[in-house]
Amino acid sequence: MKNLPRQPDSNILFSLLAGVHLSAMPLYTGMPVSVIFLLLILSIWQLTIIKNNKKNPGKIVQLLIIATSLAIILYAYGHVFGQSSGIALITLMTILKLFEIKAIRDCYIVIFSSMFIIASNFFVSQSIWLILYVFLVLIFLFSILITLSDRLASMTWKPRLKMSSQIIGYASPMMLVLFVLFPRIPGPLWGLPDDAFSSHTGLSEEMSPGSINRLISSSAIAFRVRFDGDIPAHKQRYWRGAVLSLYDGKTWRRNDASNKALHNITYSDDKTKSIQYRITLEPTNLNWLLSLEYPLSYDHAYRFSREAMLLTDSKINNVINYSLTSQTTATNEALFIQESHKNRLLPTDLNPQTLNFASTLFNQSDNHHQRYINNVLSYFNSNAFIYTLNPDLLGDNAMDDFLFRSKRGFCEHYASAFVYLMRAAGIPARVVIGYQGGKMNPLDNYMIVRQSDAHAWAEVWLDDHWQRVDPTAAVSPDRVEQGILNAGLEQNKLPLLFTTNNSFIKNAAFLYDSFQNKWNQWVIGFDQKKQNDLLRLLGFENTAPSSLIFLLIIFLTTTGLLVAWMLLKQKPTKTDKVQHYYNLFCHKLAARGMPRRLNEGPKDFENRILGELTLSATNKSAIVFIFRAYRNLHYGNHHDSKLVDQYVKYIKNFKLHSV
């Protein structure tokens, strides 16, 4: 006799296939069509194999499938060992594993892979909806575990799902304890692949025509701000991001050397002009932060470059919180020789018309910088330039095309053209990208800055410091004064949420965002600092890892014992209950001088009572009913809960009246 490896039946294979797909479902939106197509074909193939009870493909065919899958992933992603390609690879391999399931053990591998795939969903999103969905998928996966260990297949899907829900449900309190008290080690433990967290909408490291335009239709949140004190006016809310000073005729890029030397910012001593605020930044996958001009104090973890950018050591791929104090009156006086040179560079042999125009206009302005700036701005203002989300396509001589022919552009066009004209006249100038504006959430008193608030403007070296000039304001002053919604742009390109006039929808959106904000603050952004804050709030002053582990052990044990008690407590059985109340009934009779004799069965006892006592009609019928019910429940096979209830009621109300 030997224990044969058990074979999974077709129901198990079906649910495994479903389990893998349910786990990977949220990832499908981000996968290339070719990979989705491959997954679909493989799944349909598997379905036919399972349904018709056919044999799995042989070794050679399997190798061929694996080779094809790898080739398709290589074609779709360009590499195999990146993050998103890695996720696609694991999903594919899990589906492929279904082709060679030989024993029950292989099914467990598929389930565990599915759990791994679930975890990779969090690279894409960490929303509350996703985690709720994950709970449901886990219940499904655990129900497969139950099926696998139900050797006689005696459970139907209903009790199975009930049991797996019970497992996940009972696990939740312990999960909460672990989540709050498990000591958080600040990551990352090792370097992350370059394409980690690549799927974000938002600003990038460079700016070319269209790069900000495409963000306008996104209502995604860029960051949220909570101000301590007054809120600066809309036109002052320039959230400074990256400084772009290299231009190749099409794209503006960051100057790589710009991180090194110290900045040179003069702050005023007047503390009343300071703005204190705290930003909760959504993941950007970039290494710079957003701030109002110019940060005076900031976290030590960040560096301040000489272009006045706030930099982090690693890319921001999680929701982070940071507090800043900014002074709008501070001046940036950092212009080094190298920078002065770089900030006047232009690509050669391009845009001859623009260069001509610039020198003419500069001469007309008597080579006076301020006057020249004003003339450029009034050129934008008075020559029928249009602020639009539908700019024309520009050729090689992009500036010539824009300034003299199309005259239709979005903020990146105006910022770019303005800086170009400045540099053409020999004035150091650069492009700044960031956000402009933001809207208060009236329900929770914080400001929401969305991707649609993305903006680009210019900085010019004038009077020995950098001055912000926003050429967009010359074309559409409303953009800067009141925001993107009121800038006279094409409404159908803006997010529906903003253009609607329905106040209910707007309020609901604000309510939802407050909730989202809380979720970000307390769940997604739950780090070491938050953990300490929360514990202090709960009255635990000592938050060193050792005391944290001590707390964790205490709370985990308590919760564990509580859950174990709930799970293991013995419910009284049917017979217990029936017998218990029969005993009570006998006790009541004994108290009235009618004790049950030892070894007297219910039938004999009943006959003796009815024979010896003179009873009222109600007593008699009650006694007859109780005995009959007792016999049925105690000796009968089936359990009738209605009858039990009635039986219990009768005994509870029973009172022997002496006649």
């Binding site: 053990r105 975890a119 960490q126 958080r184 999680n318 059985t573």
Partner: protein, 329 residues
């Protein structure tokens, strides 16, 4: 082979000597028995450890934890901790699936040497909780899988091939379950002091038609003594089937045995000393064959072995009595 009509009743009449065992003084033996036929699986009798699958699961948890720390994904922590807690619930559930059961030894059917002895254990579930996928095994071999519904009883059995006549000790067996997740295995290791009576194996080479088994001088294999019919009486257990009056049975819906008078029934003695054999075991085998043959022919036979004599009779009770005497000789 020879299934007794009511083996339980039968065996209760036979005095099986208690199987003697040396007491082993270590804590596992104290917990796992031998018990006198009845044991409740209390807390200290149920062991639980992760299965291989459970170990792989813990590797998955470790990977997820490291991933969550490295990528600083809060929801990664949520998933990791949820799975870890679910593993803990799985541990409790697996334990709950077996703990609290009551195990009771049932009486088993004797077998001839070489046949598989079946040991039956009654699982009694006193709780309002269905138990699933309980497996009984011995030496790593699964013998039987059962479910045991709430408040009910369920038979579970395992088999041992008998190699020697006498009393076969069932020894310890393992009752285990991996339900509901397969991540943990909870088991108990019990000895219910079960034993099975093993009759000597019949000797295949014995020619029963030639062999002279009688000593009474009244050799008659055709059974002449049955010819003088006297009267009918109610059938009693152990009566020879061939003496049942089927005609009367059909009329009265009750079984009647025919009684005969006149010449006494012929008594055949199976004598230890009469049998030529290689050794005692061989002799016992031959005697077994003769008893089987005599019972088949519905003869009256008696057994005469050293230290024991069984008076001639026939019927199942007598048959098993004789075989038991041989088994325990």
């Amino acid at each position: 082979m020879f299934k007794a009509l009511s083996i339980n009743k039968l065996l209760s009449t036979i005095n099986i000597p208690d199987f003697k065992r040396k007491p082993v003084l270590n804590f596992i033996s104290k917990r796992s028995g031998p018990f006198d036929g009845n044991v409740s699986l209390t807390r200290d009798r149920v062991y639980i450890i992760p299965t291989k699958i459970g170990l792989i699961f813990s590797l998955l948890l470790l990977t997820l934890l490291i991933g969550s720390i490295n990528y600083e994904k809060s929801l990664g922590f949520v998933l990791t901790f949820l799975l870890a807690s679910a593993g803990n619930i799985a541990l409790l559930s697996t334990w709950r699936n077996i703990a609290g059961l009551q195990l009771k030894r049932l009486i088993n059917t004797p077998v001839f040497c070489g046949e598989a002895a079946t040991f039956n254990v009654q699982l009694i579930n006193h709780q309002l909780l269905n138990r699933y996928s309980l497996v009984i095994s011995q030496e790593g071999i699964e013998h039987d899988i059962v479910d045991c519904a709430a408040n009910s009883q369920q038979l579970i059995k395992f088999q041992i091939y008998s190699k020697k006549r006498g009393l076969l000790d069932a020894g310890k067996f393992r009752l285990y379950t991996e339900f509901p997740t397969g991540l943990f295995v909870a088991w108990t290791w019990v000895d219910l002091s079960m034993s099975c009576l093993v009759y000597p194996a019949p000797d295949k080479h014995t020619d029963t038609s030639v062999f002279d088994i009688s000593e009474s001088g009244d050799i008659d294999l055709s059974g002449k003594g049955m010819e003088n019919f006297s009267h009918l009486r109610k059938y009693q257990q152990g009566d020879n089937i061939s003496r049942i009056s089927w005609k009367t049975a059909a009329k009265n819906n009750e079984l009647y045995s025919k009684e005969f008078v006149g010449s006494k029934p012929v008594n055949h003695w199976i004598n230890w000393d009469d049998i030529v054999a290689r050794d005692d075991e061989h002799r016992l085998s031959i005697m077994t064959t003769l008893i089987i043959q005599a019972e088949k022919n519905q003869q009256h036979y008696g057994l005469n072995i050293p230290d024991k004599q069984i008076q001639p009779d026939s019927g199942h009770k007598h048959f098993h009595q004789c075989l038991t005497a041989l088994a325990l000789h």
